[in-house]
């Protein structure tokens, strides 16, 4: 992909992320998140990682954010009337943001520039599946256990409300 296209999509992605934070209406925030996730999927596609790109759209943009919107609508959240002003929260958010920025900078600095090129089609179904079910089998299965725990937790909380 040409550098120009990358820059345009990257700029739009950052714009979407910015919308999530600054939008006054929670619905527009959620839509900004959809846009960001969709554009990141486009970046994945441009890197030949088709499987990852479409899974990202199915799971995040197509399901998780829909549930966010669902909650926003059912609670009938209107544009925020008061700004978040608790000093503890602002300080914690700033600290978390700085830590994340530091981590990303650390990762970027440590990446060697002349890394060897990846094989063609490394992001397609077969190579990813092979890695997932051989080298990374244990982490993969542990992640699924983690998700199962989360599901059971959701069911328990839901049942408690009913009783």
């Amino acid at each position: 992909m040409s550098a120009v296209l990358f820059l345009v999509i990257a700029a739009l992605t950052v714009l979407g992320a910015f919308t999530v934070v600054v939008a006054r209406s929670p619905v527009y925030s959620a839509l900004g998140l959809v846009g960001t996730l969709f554009l990141i999927a486009v970046l994945f596609l441009s890197l030949d990682a088709q499987l990852l790109g479409f899974l990202q759209i199915i799971v995040y943009a197509g399901a998780i954010v829909v549930l966010f919107l669902f909650v926003i609508m059912l609670l009938n959240l209107q544009a925020e009337l008061e700004t978040l002003s608790a000093p503890g929260l602002v300080a914690a958010a700033a600290l978390g943001g700085l830590a994340l920025a530091g981590l990303v900078a650390f990762g970027v600095v440590r990446t060697p520039l002349g890394a060897p090129a990846l094989a063609d089609g490394f992001g397609n179904t077969v190579p990813v599946a092979e890695l997932l079910f051989t080298t990374y089998l244990l982490p993969f299965e542990l992640t699924s256990v983690l998700l199962l725990v989360a599901i059971i937790g959701a069911v328990v909380i839901g049942k408690k409300r009913l009783a």
Binding site: V34, F54, L55, I57, V66, L67, F70, N124
Partner: protein
Amino acid sequence: MLADFLIDVVRVVFIILLAVQIVAFGGFFERKISALIQDRIGANRASIFGFAGMGLVNTLVADPIKWLLKEDVRITGTDRLLHFWAPVVSLVMALVPFAVVPFGNELVIGDRHINLQAAPLGVGVLYVLAMVSLGVYGIVLGGWASNNRWALLGSVRGSAQMISYEIAMGLALVGAVLVYGTLDLQEMVHAQGQLIGGWLPAWGILYQPLGFILFFVGGVAESKRTPFDLPESESELIAGYFTEYSGAKHFMFFMADFVEVVLVSALVTTLYFGGWQIPYLAPDGFHVPGGGVVAVAPLLVTILGVVAFTLKMLFFTVLQIILRWTLPRFRYDQLMRLGWQGLLPIALANVVVTAGLLLWLGGHA
């Protein structure tokens, strides 16, 4: 270079027009079939020069023009931006999955081999699921932006229904993917060109009968028409998520639903009914079982394939219309029970049994 570009344009335009044409004819069939089912004549008020068949012209031309030119009522208190974009998102996300649907075999013109599929994508099945799942936003935003409680209720129902049935649909697709060993729809159709035991076409329905039923039911639910029309549900919610829509925007919502009907037909045809394959028709002609070949020109074979695909698609569109006018609407708890306690466990069992059988028999179909 220019020729390649033109071929791309023609492929894209062809499949979109094919889909939209079936939508238009489907609208006419819907009137005629519903009339037949309800024991009336139907769509007979446009006999031009005394010819009642002109009802077709009425539905194909006059109806859309009238609909598109109706006043676009703008209600105060709506979110203008989202109110405008919601139907657009709905329609676009219903149309784009057709890009990976193969509508014919390779077309050979001179030394050029043209794959009759607008976008030959290695992960075609995932692409379809991704685009269909994005279609939910049209419904969610349409109802919310309308600032109307009935519309919002319709949106909430619609999004819950679509997410629930997408899961069963996706799992039903896993069975088909296991059998064919690929995510590419064109390769799946090629795999269905073989014959079992020399006489039975190896169509997907023979390997995945349960998968077909699950996918079809999930697909009908995705298109939000009776018996799954709870998001619209005119007897309870006025018109659900498009209550506050009129004119061209309403037309887009209506069309998006019908495009989804055609999309489900196209996918069912491709996955379970051989796509553009015609039994016993190989690239060099008809191979009659038990010996003997009737030669057919290669170009004619390709054209016959496109015609076969269109007819199969039309068949499933008509089947869905008949379903719509035959079954009453579900109650909401019935809908959820069918999705989560009916389709989902059966789909999971289908995946496990299919995978087990493939392991036992060793390899793909």
